[in-house]
Amino acid sequence: MCATCGCGSLDVLVGGKRPPRTQNRGPISFRIPQNNVDTSVAERHHHHSPQFEQSPDTEQSRVIQVERDLFAKNNALATKNRNFFAAHNMLAFNLVSSPGSGKTTLLVRTLNALKEAQAMAVIEGDQQTDNDAERIRATGVPAIQINTGKGCHLDASMVGHALEQLEIPQNGLLFIENVGNLVCPAAFDLGEAAKVVVLSVTEGEDKPLKYPDMFRAARLMLLNKCDLLPYLNFDVAQVIANAQRVNPDIEIILLSAISGEGMDAWLAWIASAANAQRPIALQ
C-alpha cells in the first residue's frame, strides 16, 4: 500500500514505475488477545438495527456504525491536487471520452498551437503502453504516462503521484487525458478545473443519453471529427439537444483536430477559462 495516499492496486505504473509503497496489499490478519478487546464499544453499538435482515449471524455479532463515504478518500486527494494546482497557478483540464474519439490528436494540435505562449504539461492515462505520452513528447511538451493496468479510470492518487515526477508548468496549463471510457472517469474528481468530454461524429448522437454521468460531469463538450460530417449520417442538432437534456449548462464546440476548423473557439475557451480561474495572470 502506498505511503502517502494508501492506493492499493499493484498494477498501476506512473512513468513506468510503481508509486512508492510501504507494504504490498494482501490478506490482513488481526491478532488481538481477547482480554485486550474493548467490549464497551460492542455494548454501546449493539442494537438490532432494522436495516439488517434477520440472520442467525447477526445475533452473535455486534453492529458498528461506520457512515463513511466511498469517495471521501478520492475527494480528499483531489482537494490536495487542486490546492497544488492553485499554489502553482496552474489550470488543469480532465479530458474524457470513449476510446478513439481523437483526444490525443486534439491534444497534440492544441499543444502545438499554444506551446510558444504557455507553459504546459500532460498526464496521459491508459491501461497499457507509453504510446500517447510519446506522441505528446514529440511536440516538446513534457508528458508522463500512467498505466492503470486493469483499472478503467484515473483517480486522484494516481494524478498525485504523476505530479511528483512531472515537470510542473508554473502559471500554465495541465491537460490530463483520462483512460478512454465514457463511464468510470465521470465519478472520480482529479482536482481539475473542468472536465472536457470529447465526442466524435463517428459515434452515435445518443451517446449523451446512454452515458449521462459523463456528460453531466463535463463543463464543455467538444464535438470532434466534424470534417467527416459530409460523409456521415450524423445529426448535429440532435446530439446537441441530447447533451443539453442531460446537462442544461454544458458548453459545446464543434471542431476537427485534423482540419483545424473550430480550433480557434476551443483555444479561446481555454483562454477564457484561464482568465476566469486566475484573475492575477491578467495583470
Binding site: S55, D57, T58, S61, R62, I64, V66, F71, K73
Partner: protein
C-alpha cells in the same frame, strides 16, 4: 467497471474500522447507494466478493440499501424526485435540475465479531 475500485474502498474502510474498533471478522456489510450514483449493485456484489477473498470480510453478506434521488429545480425551486441523472421538473417542466441527494455511496454499518 469502477465498482472494483469502489469495492477496494469499501475494503479499506473495513480494515481501518477493524483497527480502530477491534474486530477480527465481518459478517455483514451494509452499503447505502444512492439511486443516482453511477453504480451497478450486481457488479458491486461481484467485485465485493472478489476483493474480500482472503480478508477478514471473506464470505461477508453484502446488503445494499438504495436511497432515493432528489433534485432541486433551478428554475422554480421545487424539490423533485429523480429516477435518472436527468429529467424534467415535475412542477414547471424545466430540465435544469440540480441533484441534491441520491448520488452518494457509503458504508453505513458493519456487523462484526
Amino acid at each position: 467497471m469502477h465498482e472494483m475500485s469502489l469495492a477496494e474502498n469499501v475494503m479499506q474502510i473495513i480494515e481501518e474500522s477493524a483497527r480502530t474498533q477491534n474486530f477480527q471478522r465481518v459478517r455483514i456489510v451494509v452499503l447505502e447507494i444512492g439511486k443516482l450514483a453511477a453504480v451497478e449493485p450486481d457488479a458491486m456484489r461481484f467485485c465485493f466478493d472478489a476483493v474480500t477473498r482472503g480478508t477478514l470480510a471473506q464470505g461477508a453478506q453484502l446488503q445494499i440499501i438504495e436511497s432515493p434521488g432528489t433534485g432541486a429545480c433551478l428554475a422554480c425551486g421545487a424539490e423533485v424526485e429523480m429516477q435518472e441523472q436527468y429529467g424534467l421538473c415535475s412542477s414547471c417542466g424545466s430540465p435544469r435540475l440540480k441533484i441534491t441527494a441520491g448520488n452518494q455511496m457509503r458504508v453505513k454499518d458493519l456487523a462484526v465479531e
